[in-house]
Symmetry: C2
DNA sequence: TCGATATTGACAACATATTGTCAATATGGC
DNA sequence: GCCATATTGACAATATGTTGTCAATATCGA
């Protein structure tokens, strides 16, 4: 995995990348476990949370979540079919309707939030706020750097 | 996203989780870009790298990569069909054959490693070795904590 | 050796997400 | 107002990954 690796910093970034990708699995599974008692999943929870933050179009939510528009569209249509959100007409855009949580959607989201709060408090206390915030800041920085590089004709 | 959130540390962990999940996408895409010139993807690269580290069964590689056995099996069968690996008989286990890179597999992996080294060196220098190592250590710790919690009847 | 238990690959179903294409609709410069 | 360009949702194809089940095979204690 580290044959032509040269600099220590490059090695550190390679290690970081592998570890970050390994983390995604357990994190998604933990989210699924939190969402499951309310009949939801990590992905559906994320979209519900985005729509609850403010009524927004599918494209808006995709940008907010850093996902492809079409993937979010798929989840949103499932949520609508299950009666957790509705599409409300958008006064400023004929096509891009706004996602709004129904009462059922609000109930589900609230339940998940309760569970997540207990879970996050427990793990946050165990892991330490300072380290978590430093790591979050670094990850946000990396997201930004990768975004710039991929949007440019690199 | 943070309604019933109580402790600062819990909030920090919630933020960390969201950011980590957001990072996975760009990171996978960057890996795909590195692997693409050799006709590979992030996922196939990971399996190639595992098999190159030492001949191992699909189940071994899945454990090493932190993925479900069946997903790795699927990738490995694709790699075999494309002639990048072969299954070698395992003297110690009749069913669990060992993945071994073919010459084509070694060539592809080497090419990707070259590209990745340049990429990681560049970003590693930009982001700082110390912060990257601290974040990696924290992520590894979280993977371990989540693993324990999910394996237990939590 | 025997038998309970775990591991392994095969197979299938499904969830998540990207990429690409298209037509409808906005947007902004002229 | 018009036109080039961008955004948006619809549709389809594909990649990645989990979960569940099953039979074959290992492993290990009695």
């Amino acid at each position: 995995m580290k044959d032509p690796e040269r600099t220590p910093a490059g090695d550190a970034f390679a290690e970081f990348s592998i570890t970050a990708l390994r983390l995604a699995g357990p994190l998604t599974q933990a989210g699924d476990a939190l969402a499951k008692p309310s009949g939801q999943t990590s992905a559906r929870w994320q979209v519900l949370a985005a729509a609850n933050h403010a009524p927004m179009s599918v494209a808006d939510a995709a940008r907010a979540l850093g996902l492809a528009r079409q993937g979010v569209q798929r989840i949103a249509d499932l949520l609508e079919a299950d009666g957790l959100i509705t599409y409300r007409d958008n006064p400023t855009h004929q096509r891009a309707k706004l996602m709004v949580l129904t009462a059922a959607g609000e109930t589900a989201l609230h339940e998940i939030k309760e569970r997540q709060a207990a879970w996050a408090d427990r793990l946050g206390a165990e892991l330490g706020e300072r380290r978590l915030r430093q790591a979050s800041a670094l990850m946000a920085e990396i997201i930004e750097v990768l975004r710039e590089r991929s949007s440019a004709a690199d």
